[in-house]
Amino acid sequence: MRIHLFVPCLVDQFYPGVAVAMCRVLKKLGVEYAYLTDQTCCGQPAFNSGYHREATELAERFLKVFEPAETVVAPSGSCVSMVKIFYPQLELSPAGKRTLERLGPRLFEFSDFLVRELRVVDVGAQFRGKVTYHDSCHLLRELKIEEQPRQLIRNVHGLEFVEMDDMQTCCGFGGTFAVKFPEISTAMGTDKAAAIERTGADAVVANDSSCLMQIAGILSRRKSRVVPMHLAELLAQGI
């Protein structure tokens, strides 16, 4: 199988290790990948802030860049839902619409790609320690991906999985919400961090780097010993 990588701007700039880890897992599974070097941002920040004109421009651009792709995989539920769920709400050009209609169904979030498309739940990863999982909102409620990441985590060798309280409660990031309402956002994140710590886990896993940016920022401020980790990074352990 051959796929194209969609590496969201936040991952590209702040967490390249997540995309590198994803590549390592894909390679282990025999998936060939290519990277379209002109890709930037899907336009989500503009869309979520209400700026449809700018979002449409970036959506058109995204669809043009990814025009050569057949199957696309991204390590982010949020950016995948931007394309799959929210692009159709924009006024796209006929060409953009055509690409979207073809590409939309072939755009996968990483864990979903592994479990539903490749039918793999054990990638052969190894991790000694206790791990808990945070359901990212877009992944859970826009894409309805709930079980796939859990299956993958449970099958990591040597790992003990533990659910946290309120695992489906938002971490408080919410894109521009995090900076428009920093106090509320931080309060939400603090409760999330406390729930994570209560499990006694060594690591907290999520599938979105944006949530992880929030969770990591708070854990680090609390001088917590829990390590935030993207699912791809966990699955790349020991392979």
Binding site: D38, N48, E54, F177
Partner: protein
């Protein structure tokens, strides 16, 4: 009516800092969400019921004029007097006039958010008519001189101790925080009021077009007292309360109580068909139904938000909302708080009056996931954000940032260059291995350090294979 733009941010900041309030909100909302979850998971066909309710509401709202007229004629035939109020003040004026005609100086009220929209208590007091709230939560809120902070649990923001103090201060009783004792005290006062009041005012949960019936869902029995003891009953409803058929109640009754309090059914379901008939022994002599528009019909024309009219005011979206849970209902500045408030306040009061509300959400979508009539609340917030932008209500600074952002993202070279620039700035300003201090972020959280190389760079340099 609100008198100037709602300052959500300011109020939220204040309420967030109030520790007591945080704790009260946490306790109450987590209690109701747990009960709701338990009640809902016991109904295997829950999702089907939601879809069915959505379809019924769609039918009702798509043919709103028809069903309202049908309701009016059926209710009139049953002996009700129906009054159409375009604005909240018209509705309040009508109620005051009925009270005057009847020479009533005391009015007992059951819970009604519509009456809050009308600011009815103020209007009545202005006409020297004393309104007495008989729902326990509303009674507390009225005693404290406040407004409800939740649509089904008006005094949710208060703890038992706070209520105990309030009672001992205002009612002159010995302090107690025992709910039974407090309820008994309130009941003793209310009993007398029920006997003396000339008029009872209630809200309406459902108005059945087919039969002209008014349906009231309550837990304390006060609603039933308000509709039976006084000689005149005035029922207040928004135009969206109409449902086509009596049989539709089968669906809504299953959904409403479970969503709001986690009960299978509320303690009382009252179905009223007109005032007392000659052969009957109880019920009011006159029954007035006030049907309020107050901006709702404008919502009908908004394709992306009209489904907000499907709301059955269960309060579930408030209880699960992580923002509501932390800032409380009073932060939202008008009658309806939480996710549904963030949608309808801008729609009913004007987006320029409430432009902060659609943005005050992390868009987690929990509200939409629990809504018993499947209102897509968080996606509506996105449309309202667009409408704030289209009406040029966002700040000039923000508009520039977005423009700059889009311009950068359209040019891969510039995008990469700004990433490198960021890294250089970080090297100069931030301690080794740490991220920058970023305004609006770093007060309570650390900002992630930018790595030396982006994924793009690693790829171009052949470090990934």
């Amino acid at each position: 009516m609100i008198t100037g733009p709602i300052k959500f941010k300011e109020a939220a900041r204040r309420n967030l800092a109030a520790q007591d309030l945080r704790e009260n909100l946490r306790r109450a909302t987590s209690h109701s969400t747990t009960l709701r979850l338990k009640a809902v998971s016991a109904v295997p066909e829950w999702e089907d019921l939601r879809s069915e309710a959505h379809a019924i509401k769609k039918e009702a709202i798509d043919h709103l004029a028809e069903y309202l007229e049908r309701f009016e004629s059926q209710a009139t035939e049953a002996g009700c007097k129906v009054y159409w109020a375009e604005t909240a003040s018209q509705a309040a004026e009508y109620v005051v006039n009925v009270c005057r005609q009847k020479g009533a100086s005391l009015v007992v009220k059951a819970k009604s958010m519509t009456s809050e929209e009308m600011e009815l208590n103020t209007a009545l007091e202005g006409a020297s008519i004393q309104p007495v709230e008989t729902d326990l939560g509303e009674f507390i809120v009225q005693l404290a001189g406040e407004t409800p902070s939740h649509i089904t649990a008006p005094a949710l923001h208060k703890s038992r101790t706070q209520i105990g103090k309030l009672f001992s201060e205002k009612l002159g009783m010995n302090f107690s925080d025992d709910p039974k004792e407090l309820t008994r005290a309130a009941r003793a006062i209310l009993r007398e009021k029920f006997m003396d009041a000339g008029i009872g005012i209630t809200g309406v949960n459902f108005a059945v077009a087919e039969t002209g019936s008014l349906v009231l869902i309550t837990n304390e029995g006060n609603g039933r007292m308000c509709t039976t003891l006084p000689r005149t009953h005035i029922a207040l409803m928004g135009i969206e309360k109409v449902i086509p058929r009596f049989d539709d109640l089968r669906v809504f009754l299953k959904l409403l109580a479970r969503s709001s309090t986690g009960q299978k059914l509320t303690s009382y379901v009252t179905i009223l068909n007109g005032p007392r008939e000659a052969r009957e022994t109880d019920g009011p002599e006159e029954l007035h139904v006030v049907i309020l528009d107050n901006g709702r019909s404008q919502l009908l024309a908004h394709p992306h938000t009209r489904e907000a009219l499907y709301c059955i005011r269960c309060g579930a979206c408030l209880n699960v909302c992580p923002v509501y849970q932390r800032v409380g209902g009073h932060s939202y500045g008008w009658v309806y708080p939480g996710p549904i408030g963030s949608v309808i306040t801008p729609e009913l009061q004007g987006i320029s009056q409430a432009q902060e509300l659609p943005f005050a959400s992390s868009l987690c979508g929990h509200c939409s996931a629990v809504c018993p009539v499947k209102i897509d609340l968080h996606h509506m917030l996105l449309w309202l954000r667009k409408s704030a932008v289209d009406s040029a209500l966002t700040s000039r600074g923000e508009r520039w940032i977005i423009k700059l952002f889009a311009a950068t993202m359209k040019r891969p070279g510039l995008y990469r260059w700004s990433g490198m620039l960021g890294w250089m700035v970080q090297r100069i300003l931030a301690p080794r291995g740490k991220g920058l201090r970023v305004p609006c972020w770093s007060a309570g959280r650390d900002f992630p350090p930018l790595p030396k190389k982006s994924f793009h760079q690693l790829w171009e340099e052949g470090e990934i294979n």
